[in-house]
Symmetry: C2
Subunit: 128 residues, 2 copies
């Protein structure tokens, strides 16, 4: 896990082909965005904006892809992916395309440290 923002757990996808964060609201038995209360949705929106800022600040992507799909894993989770014109799946979607390439453990550790710092900065900037 990378960190927690409000009611959401933030995880890094194990697939190193794309900078890819997953926001998981810690609310039981939710599979759709509108299973959350409106207040919970606002919290999730704020966390999502922080992830967008972090992906932009850390990776300078061509485009963000933000998606709540969940056809395979029902628990509500929202993908936040930094996309580039030179990435493996561009301009298609990343899901169901080739096999994941997992991070080397030192690279993963360094990336999580970077993401945590950037999230802390972004949370601080939003609050002030």
């Amino acid at each position: 896990m990378v960190t927690v923002i409000g009611l959401s757990q933030i995880r890094l996808s194990h697939d190193s082909r794309y900078p890819w964060l997953i926001l998981i609201p810690q609310i039981n038995n939710c599979s759709e965005l509108d299973d959350l209360s409106f207040e919970q949705q606002i919290e999730v929106l704020k966390a999502s904006n922080i992830l967008s800022a972090v992906l932009k600040n850390c990776f300078f992507p061509t485009k963000l892809n933000i998606a709540a799909l969940g056809n395979m894993v029902k628990q509500l989770h929202i993908h936040h992916v930094a996309r580039f014109e030179y990435d493996d799946a561009w301009p298609g979607p990343i899901w169901g395309r080739g096999d994941a390439i997992v991070y080397a453990s030192d690279k993963k550790k360094a990336l999580i440290a970077l993401l945590r710092r950037s999230i802390t900065n972004s949370v601080y900037a939003t609050a002030n």
Copy 2:
């Protein structure tokens, strides 16, 4: 176009393989969700919830897929797709999968009429 909800235009995808609505905030030069002001995001969230309710009420899907991708068309647009275990792409994403099958014009007309009624009902239910 199906209708307008708040600041967003609602369109029906021309691909009849999936019940598929597209929400397009009528704000110039926006490509990412966080290009919108927070107040505009709240308006878009409310419209998105209405589309989720409409897709559930009209089609009883297995899952909703909600996504802001925009790798090909930059203007911010959010897909809302009703997914079924028996649909063409399940459990994968719908984008970049086979060729679109366009609606017969009478079917499209009837579907848009159904969607308009359902959106009106959902907007009314939300406001009261």
